[in-house]
């Protein structure tokens, strides 16, 4: 059967879009990699225990309503399905239970969310170094809390994580924060005078007060972070120490676990593979696919909603999903333009209000220069172990674009397909060549978006 709408990703954007589309009478297929809907932000929310819900807080609980609203006879949820190719003609190929399969949609909505920005500091590939997001997932889906951990980087998630760890009885050992007083000073004029701005600010201050009360050591304006193992053991040791410079002094702390975070960026693997138009977003320091207020992309049949279209957070994503669904229903001739616009009015207003706080956050937590342009020895492509210095040496050989760096040194050619190194490579090339990131461009992404086995692919032969 041909679905009216195939949605990829069942986070807040995908779930809310599915419901809206179903209510308008569309036949919807919702494909997702996980067994439970929710995406990463609401991971496992329907199955979470009371204890988990208490620790993770009301923002997480909000996801339950979205999941509940997915039960609708017009919605087919294809879970534990890994999408590996999306085509402009509406075909979506995926693997489920070791078998390749596909669905076809008259329309496609990409709701693939965000990835954590790469954190290329020396030693970030060592075992025992993970992302803050990964630790959140372990709390949500694994019932595990980081113990004797140091949180490193910047962004609201760093504080949220610390507060959740406190609530779970595992006090973080320290926070090493890269944002400086001057980043605060340059962000302050962007603080919205609206209600949303005050809600956000008071939430942030409440977190900080909790951390202060618990006596958690915070180091701000931290520079030159590097992670090390036990010097007496082989170089193969997991990380056990972090070194950094704070207020001009070199310091070292020990811990069992180091959690990095430098904000999130749109996951553009599918939009890039479709060669949709992308823009460099200087405010968010990343590429995002072009999309209008309804999530229309440069391809007629493909919409994009949620963080994958530009970082706005879960609340904004849950508004963008229905907006895309309305427009798709209009495109399919199910509702009139007037009905679309009428129904969209409230959603657009709410989203505009919610996004008012974004410029402030983006400026305050802008990634520091030495994370964007790492020193030469630092590995940037984790899969193929290519360093920042390697990329610079390819520039010296006349390489001006990311695809030539792939050819010269295999960066971005491992199984992650450039998810983590892509942006860093574009940034380094832009810096070294004097071109803009837009001019430098990005890796060309090819199928499979995620690895597929030879047997699975071969089963589609003829």
């Amino acid at each position: 059967m041909i679905y009216d709408l195939v949605i990829i990703g069942s986070g807040p954007a995908g779930m809310s879009a599915a419901r809206q589309a179903a209510e308008l009478g569309l036949q919807v297929a919702l494909i997702d990699e996980q067994s439970q809907p929710g995406g990463q932000i609401y991971r496992n929310v329907a199955k979470a225990s009371k204890q988990q819900l208490d620790i993770l807080g009301p923002d997480y609980c909000a996801g339950r309503a979205l999941v509940e609203r997915l039960s609708h006879e017009q919605i087919v949820h294809i879970a534990v399905a890994t999408v590996w190719k999306v085509q402009k003609d509406g075909f979506v190929y995926y693997t489920k239970n070791g078998k390749a399969d596909f669905v076809q949609g008259k329309h496609i909505l990409l709701a693939t969310g965000a990835l954590e920005r790469a954190c290329p500091v020396p030693g970030w590939t060592r075992p025992g170094v993970m992302t803050v997001g990964s630790a959140q997932i372990l709390m949500k889906a694994g019932g595990l809390v980081p113990d004797n951990a140091i949180l490193i980087g910047s962004g609201p998630l760093l504080y949220l994580m610390a507060v959740q760890m406190l609530a779970a009885g595992c006090k973080p050992k320290a926070l090493l924060e890269t944002q400086t007083f001057s980043s605060l000073k340059s962000a302050l004029p962007l603080l919205p005078r609206s209600l949303a701005g005050w809600v956000m600010l008071s939430k942030g201050l409440k977190y900080l007060a909790k951390l202060e009360l618990a006596g958690i050591k915070r180091y701000t304006g931290v520079e030159q972070i590097s992670l090390h193992g036990n010097e007496n053991a082989k170089a193969t040791e997991a990380a056990s120490r972090v070194q950094f410079v704070h207020k001009g002094k070199r310091k070292e702390l020990e811990a069992d676990l180091f959690l990095l975070h430098q904000g999130v960026i749109p996951n553009t693997q599918i939009t890039r593979s479709l060669e949709l138009a992308h823009d460099w977003r200087e405010d968010q320091v990343c590429f995002a696919p072009q999309s209008d207020e309804f999530g229309r992309t440069s391809c007629e049949r493909i919409h994009n909603a949620g963080d994958g279209a530009g970082i706005g957070g879960a609340y904004v994503a849950a508004l963008s999903g229905p907006l895309a669904a309305l427009d798709i229903a209009y495109s399919l001739g199910v509702i009139s333009r007037a009905v679309r616009d009428e129904k969209a009015k409230v959603l657009l207003k709410k989203r505009q209000d919610a996004l008012a706080a974004r410029p402030f956050l983006d400026r305050l937590y802008t990634p520091p220069k030495d994370w964007r342009l790492p020193q030469d020895e630092t590995i940037i492509c984790r899969c193929e172990e290519v360093t920042a210095g390697d990329i610079r040496s390819y520039v010296a050989l006349g390489c001006t674009g990311p695809n030539q760096t792939k050819a010269f040194g295999r960066s971005g050619m491992g199984p992650c397909q450039g998810r983590y190194c892509g942006l860093v490579v574009s940034d380094i090339l832009a810096h070294e060549t004097g071109l803009s990131q837009q001019e430098v461009g990005s890796y060309r992404i090819r199928a499979p978006i995620k690895p597929v086995s030879i047997g699975e692919l071969a089963s589609l032969d003829r």
Binding site: M130, G142, A149, C416
Partner: protein
């Protein structure tokens, strides 16, 4: 490095095997979470430099938690545990690698996906 939020009872646990080490783990966990709950953080070594790697992103994006399950490379963070699951870290010693290939070959020959409906039983090694 990680503490469980709640102690699970025995019937909420399963036994998995990581490189012949038997581990009691929470039945609702991913392989990566289960191994981390036992402080096992190094799951493999890279081919290029034999550097150790373990779970990093926990959401299927980084591919650093790759392990061998049933003769196939899988992401430990995207695979759920089940009773008796056998997990092996990716072998890097060239001599073991050959064994691994043959091991995989023989494991594959009976599997459903191995020959995609074609006769795959001939992979004798």
């Amino acid at each position: 490095m990680f503490k469980p939020l709640k102690k699970k009872t025995d019937d909420e646990m399963v036994t998995i095997h990581f490189n012949d080490q038997a581990l009691q783990v929470d039945a609702t966990m991913s392989v990566a979470a289960a191994l981390l709950s036992h402080d096992i953080r190094t799951l493999r070594q890279t081919l290029k430099s034999q550097s150790p790697r373990g779970p990093f992103c926990m959401m299927g994006a980084c591919f650093d938690c790759l392990v061998q399950i049933d003769g196939a490379t899988q992401q430990a963070c995207m695979t759920m545990v089940q009773e008796g699951l056998k997990i092996r870290s990716m072998q890097q010693n060239p001599e073991n690698l050959q064994d691994e290939a043959e091991q995989n070959a023989s494991e594959t020959s009976g599997s459903e996906t191995g020959g995609s409906g074609q006769n795959s039983t001939g992979a004798d090694t």
